[in-house]
Amino acid sequence: MFLRQVWTIAAKDLHSELRTKEAWNASIAFTIVILLLFSFAFDPSSEQIREFSGGLLWMTYAFAGALVLNRSFARELQNDCLDALIASPVSSAALFTGKAFANFALLFAVEAVSLPVFVLFYNVPLGPAQFGPMLLVMVLGTWALTVIGTLFSALTVNLRLRELMLPTLVYPMMIPALISAMTITTNVLASNPAGFGLRFLVGFDIIFTMLALVFVDTVLVG
């Protein structure tokens, strides 16, 4: 029952998003523009680009992610749909998980589409040997962003200053995960071993997922 509800919620969010494409369009456009702009700012042929490639990529993903994650619970405000969902038999945990999965899918899609842009314009050496590790860090890093963003989307949904509070609260929380993802990515692209960052990111994901599931009911219902 829980899984069915999670699936229903996730499908609904994705279905709605496919219809309106609001967050998707904004996210994709933003990501590609930022990547292009920075590619003008830095000389893509230099060796230094390798060093901050990971950083740049994840900064872009984090900002684009905010566009997706903010809408997550905000889309329920219209017509008081959030009340209808909470009053239904769906538990807060199922609601959260469904939305998190939908957000993850969306965010991952944005990242996947913009990755080739990144590889092209920054002359990044992304060979077949790196696909696996790259995929792994993208999954782990994106999940961290998703969990935090979705939880805080729920928390700020009814606040007066939602547009301001969400980024203020969310970005600092994301920083440890972002830094790990950045260093792992830079290592992967330089064909170095991933390092401690990988274990840290896994631990971070697990802990924050558990905390989010514990707290989401307090946040939504109290």
């Binding site: 029952m1 069915r4 509800q5 229903t8 919620i9 609904k12 279905h15 709605s16 219809r19 309106t20 219209q78 017509n79 008081d80 749909c81 009340d83 209808a84 969902l85 909470i86 009053a87 239904s88 038999p89 769906v90 219902v221 109290g222």
Partner: protein
């Protein structure tokens, strides 16, 4: 066994008690009209029963499923009428959500626009869709928060007939309202809420029907 058992419920906003030691036992098959002026706590109480808010103290026990119709419409603009109801059908775990959704749409007079986007509906049509959502899973207990406010004639007719259907099936109804006349006609019991306290609870009498202001006058206006 009461359909709805409310025991010692308090709700605090800060140190201010919006609900004070509210206790009600609502027998199955009865229809309770919850009366009170603005700010008396009717919506607060209904929200707590619906599970949208936690009481600061006290317990609520319900027998069976709950359907809630509040101030908000609770349907998604970007989905069609049938998609909306199918979604809620799935969330409630109905065996054949799609079929049930289509039946309900016919019942509320939206059968011909089942594939229309909720966004494109007129106000009255959206309200009827909301009624369909609330009654979709054939709930044991129906919570209606000022349901007749701002409904057009057709929507009122649909709602009244569906409430009557529920009554004939022996379901339980709790309705808060300002429309004393309509409420008292439908109600078997009456409860008056004043500043968060139940000052009167009992059967609906003929006197109340004949003289709708009697209740308020008897319990003063302090």
């Amino acid at each position: 066994m009461n359909a709805l058992e409310i025991d010692g419920v308090w709700k605090y906003y800060g140190d201010f008690p919006a609900l004070r030691d509210v206790g009600l036992g609502i027998a199955p098959g009865s229809a309770l009209a919850l009366l009170g002026r603005n700010g008396a706590g009717k919506t607060t109480l209904l929200r707590i029963i619906a599970g949208l808010s936690r009481p600061s103290r006290g317990t609520i026990r319900t027998q069976g499923s709950i359907g809630a119709l509040g101030h908000g419409i609770g349907v998604y603009d970007e989905l069609t009428a049938v998609e909306n109801l199918t979604l809620f059908g799935r969330l409630h775990g109905l065996p054949d959500p799609r079929k049930r959704a289509e039946e309900m749409l016919v019942r509320v007079g939206l059968g011909r626009v089942r594939d229309g986007l909720a966004r494109e509906f007129s106000r009255g049509m959206r309200q009827r869709l909301a009624v369909g959502r609330a009654f979709l899973h054939d709930p044991e207990v129906l919570l209606l928060d000022e349901p007749f406010t701002a409904l057009d004639d057709r929507a009122i007719a649909v709602l009244q007939s569906m409430i009557q259907e529920m009554r004939d099936k022996g379901r339980t109804i709790v309705m808060s309202t300002h429309q004393l006349r309509e409420a008292l006609e439908l109600a078997s019991h009456v409860a008056l809420l004043q500043r968060g306290q139940i000052v009167h609870a009992g059967e609906r009498t003929q006197q109340m029907l004949d003289d709708t202001g009697w209740l308020y006058r008897t319990y003063g206006d302090n």
